[in-house]
């Protein structure tokens, strides 16, 4: 396919064509292929719940506590249900699930600025000014497809009011749900159903002629989208977004992250492959203790409830749960009793979806400043998620401008995290 495509490009220079041909026919790319074979996950997860703690979540106060160090501030370390694994004291509930968790304390990146850091942790690529990369959901759908007949989208972004698919076709854009308890916007009919149906049938009738007159994809696609929207409105699938009937709503916590995780679980049950839950509020330059008193238990409760719930419903083995942030925070506590941006050491979590629980990957120095063992870069992290979803990390796709891309920027998955 590559060769045919390259040959058909009128601007393709012979130089490049020759080079690529050599690559494919002379076996220069052999090691590449071998690598690809080695990187297919044995047991792939069917779904991903990616909880992203935006703002920069401190590693010292969460999953990489440094016992007895002055820089810990008010945070103390507590033991978990796995010997040797210790968490910050705000994570009592999660401590009971350490046996399900792979803790990664070797995260590091070179982006200490929020937007770039977030971008890299969500796409596996550095943010640049010339192309926009897709996040995990759209990329996974592009490579793995969407089950036919599924009414709900393949990916949902909870906690944001807008989304995009980067350089991919916009049809891959995740459905944005700004408020996890608010449901899908504009799904309440303006009139009673009967009148809506009448209006819709007139609209269809009026549209028919127009659509027949022009043989273009555009108007036809709108007919299709009206059809999908009407199906959605008539289906029971919208109930996936209705949290009111959930008996264990309180168990997740009546917080945005709690309800976001609950919504995510419901969406997994309805066949959505990737759900990102954005959890804001971690940029604790001022008063890290107050900040953690608030955000820590919210996250603790939400993730613990999610793991329990998935387990109880038999979904944990097929659902990869990832908890991350754009960077960590300085071990030193600043003038304002806060911690500042610190990208060269931070922590993330993985659970479910074939992940081997009860392990810690990577290690920072005594003060949590630098990674000394098991370094994982953002592209490796995203590649690890892709590996868990059974994505072929070597598969090349082309952006509309002809640039070739793979899932995550040459990231190496940490395969040891999986059973």
């Amino acid at each position: 396919m590559h060769i045919a495509e390259l040959a058909s490009r009128d601007c393709a220079s012979r130089r490049y064509f020759m080079r690529r041909t050599a690559l494919f026919s002379l076996g220069v790319g052999l090691s590449y292929t071998q690598l690809a074979n080695a990187q297919t996950a044995p047991k792939k997860a069917k779904a991903l719940i990616y909880i992203f703690n935006r703002g920069g979540m401190s590693h010292l106060d969460t999953f990489d506590p440094k016992e007895g160090e002055a820089l810990m501030g008010k945070t103390t370390a507590i033991s978990t249900n796995v010997a040797g694994i210790r968490f910050g004291d705000k994570f009592e509930k999660l401590a009971k699930h350490a046996d399900k968790l792979a803790v990664i304390n070797g995260m590091m990146s070179f982006n200490a600025e929020h937007e770039r850091g977030t971008y890299q942790m969500r796409t596996g690529y550095n943010r640049i000014g010339t192309i926009s990369h897709p996040t995990v959901g759209p990329f996974a759908e592009r490579l793995l497809g969407k089950p036919s007949g599924q009414i709900l989208p393949a990916s949902v972004l909870v906690g944001e009011s807008t989304s995009n698919a980067g350089y991919l076709d916009p049809k891959y854009s995740p459905l944005p749900i700004a408020d996890p308890s608010g449901g899908v916007p504009n799904t309440t009919l303006l009139t009673e159903t009967e009148r809506f149906d009448k209006r819709m049938s007139i609209a269809n009738k009026l549209g028919e002629q127009f659509v027949a007159k022009y043989n273009y994809a555009g108007p036809k696609s709108y007919v299709e989208y009206y059809d999908q929207a009407t199906k959605l409105l008539r289906s029971n699938e919208l109930s996936a977004f209705d949290l009111t009937g959930e008996s264990n709503r309180e168990a997740y916590g009546m917080t945005r992250v709690g309800q976001g995780c609950l919504l995510a679980r419901r969406l997994v049950e309805h066949g959505v492959r990737v759900i990102e839950v954005i959890n804001d509020g971690w940029d604790m330059h001022v008063g890290v203790d107050q900040g953690f008193a608030d955000k820590g238990p919210q996250l603790d409760q939400a993730v613990a409830a999610l793991l329990e719930d998935l387990k109880a419903k038999g979904l944990l083995e097929s659902t990869l749960v990832a908890v991350a942030t754009e960077f960590g925070r300085t071990p030193e506590i600043n003038f304002n009793a806060g911690r500042d941006h610190h990208s060269i050491a931070f922590s993330t979590l993985l659970a479910g979806g074939g992940v081997k629980g009860g392990q810690v990957w990577g290690k920072t120095d005594k003060q949590g400043k630098k990674v000394v063992e098991g370094k994982v870069m953002p592209e490796d992290w995203v590649a690890t998620i892709g590996y868990g979803l059974g994505i072929n990390l070597q598969e090349t796709i082309f952006a509309p401008n002809g640039r070739p891309f793979t899932f995550s920027d040459k990231g190496k998955p940490v395969t040891q995290l999986f059973a």
């Binding site: 220079s13 944001e160 009919l189 007139i202 022009y214 273009y216 401008n401």
Partner: protein, 696 residues
Amino acid sequence: MFYASSRFAHRLAATLVAVASLSSVHARVWTSADGRPLAAEFVALQGENVLLKIAGGRTIPVPLARLSKADQEAAGRFAILGDDTATMRSAKMIDALLAKNLVKGGIRSFNQPLPDDLFARRVYLDIIGRIPTREEFQSFAENSRPDKREALIDELLTEPGRASHLFNYFADMFRLNGNADFAPGQRAEPYIQWWKDEIAKNTHYDVMVREMLTANGNIGQNPASGFLLRDAGMEFDAFSNFGQIGLGVDLSCAQCHDHPFADWVMSDFYEMAAYFGNTQRTMGQYAVADSMGMKRATMPNAPDGWVDSFRKFAQTKGLNLEDPDASRPFNFFVNNALGWNIADNATMDHPVPTTVGEIGGQVFKPRPIVGDKPGTGGKTRREALAEWLTAKDNPRFALVIANRMWSRAFGRALLEPVKDFPLEWAKATGQPEVTAFVAEEMKRVNYDLREFMRILYNTKAYQTYATAAEPASTQNYLFAGPVLRRMRAEQAWDSFMLLAHGEQIDEIKGRDGSFYKELLNVNFEKDSFEAIWSKYEAFKQNRGRGYGSTMILASESGSLSGVEPDVPKLGNLELIRASEMVQPAPGASLVDTFGQSDRIITDQHTYDGSVPQVLALMNGSITDRLTGPTSKVVEDLKSLDAEEDKVRGVFFTILSRFPSDEEQAMGVEMLDSYGDDGIRDLAWALINSPEFLFIQ
């Protein structure tokens, strides 16, 4: 490298001779009030007279009052837009060149001419970015003057909506973002407003580009500096974007490796980028060593030591610079707001990033990637670049913008993608003659985009039905007419605003950045520290509101204060045109949902549908406003009695066309059965039939 265009210039010359004989025929025939004709070109309005150039080249004054009413109006339009002789000649030339290719391609002629109703809808949307009101539509439909189409095009070209709509196009192309993107917290409203102002004044495009490329100072001192400041810290990406915008070549591959598909090598990229090599964009990029050997940041364009002196002054005002909380806004004001500031700095250079292969760390000398190297004689690198780029013999600049403007009118460019087409472009288009011609026309009109669009809108090719079947590829498309297009997000939004609030939306101004511009507009040489301190205080006061960047400078003189713009609202929704909203529009707004660019990458607007889009059209608050209990559509039709008129009125209002007999009958039946509710249902159905979103 650009022999292509000269090869066609030759063929073109022959065709031009053939058409030249047409042109003398075209001079406008003016008619006196008593019906006598006079073939003449418009020269100028002078008091009560219009100066006309008659055969033989003599200019004579003719009292306006002696001309027919239509010609008096024409003189008024021409006073702004200029005479139309050359315009019409050029339009005919385009038609002739296209027609020749059509015949060669086996098609006998252009698509069927557009009927008046569809013509009106299209030019309103294309020129001023919204559908016509029912009254505007009707007055055009009922007008029987033979030159009414040309007159409407001219009229719309002088309306404020033209600037709003063209702004949206450039906002996408130049990635205009209120948030400075790569410089978190910085705001760019004064730069965005500069774009709107220059477009409204119809400043020629080459002039704007030169201003942006050569700007010095911060966005308060010189708003055009926003172009280079936008990517401070991402200089090489900025250059990649510049290549796409200015030259229609995407060099981004060559930023990290030799270009895989074109013949660009990395040194091409870095030699070209070196034109910005000593462009300093922030304070931090220019540190000087003090007497102790410590690096000390210096304010660009300010006397040496200005920052230190101003910091000392701040201390006399009681600011504790040691207290990070207290000094944070002050530091942001100095280092970021004022210090986001362009200067040429001969002592600095941007070496190739060390992550880039074997050439990492090298510094390249400037050299253009096409054409000859410009002389530098006393000019700065950026001045030399700007001159080279906009020179008449630059092989790409006119071509790129002409091709883009063509695409705005016809829905397809002559060369696609517009930001990256081959150097030997003539092979990449099915229309090399027209392409060469319009590029030359762009130069002839001196990059006056309003005049250029006037030419295109007056072509026969433009004034036809959209081609019925989607062309498979641009390369083979014969332009028998425009292609069917979906409205841009901003066109859809502005049309809804029109339906919800009437044509006054064209006049409502939103966030002009004037307050922020005033805060940052300091004269480092002349302004007293006291005066600059008071600007800082106003800046700090608005810390929680983007430092006042979206406010309007209060008109009372003397005090420095900003006010929120006074705009009409529907609940929380501001009823203003997309160009007047924060740029880009907030997520979850209809503008965003319909695909407005996020303004991070060039030309990122999308035209695709989506489920959230149609849900908003079915059930959103704007649809409710138009079809609900307080329907503006129903209210506006109150004055009409006959059901037939009401039905026609709904079609005029929403689709700007006459209903077919069948549609009319269906509408009347709905009104018969349901009264005003029938109108609401019909309006809802028209908004939700795909036709509404498309430009035929």
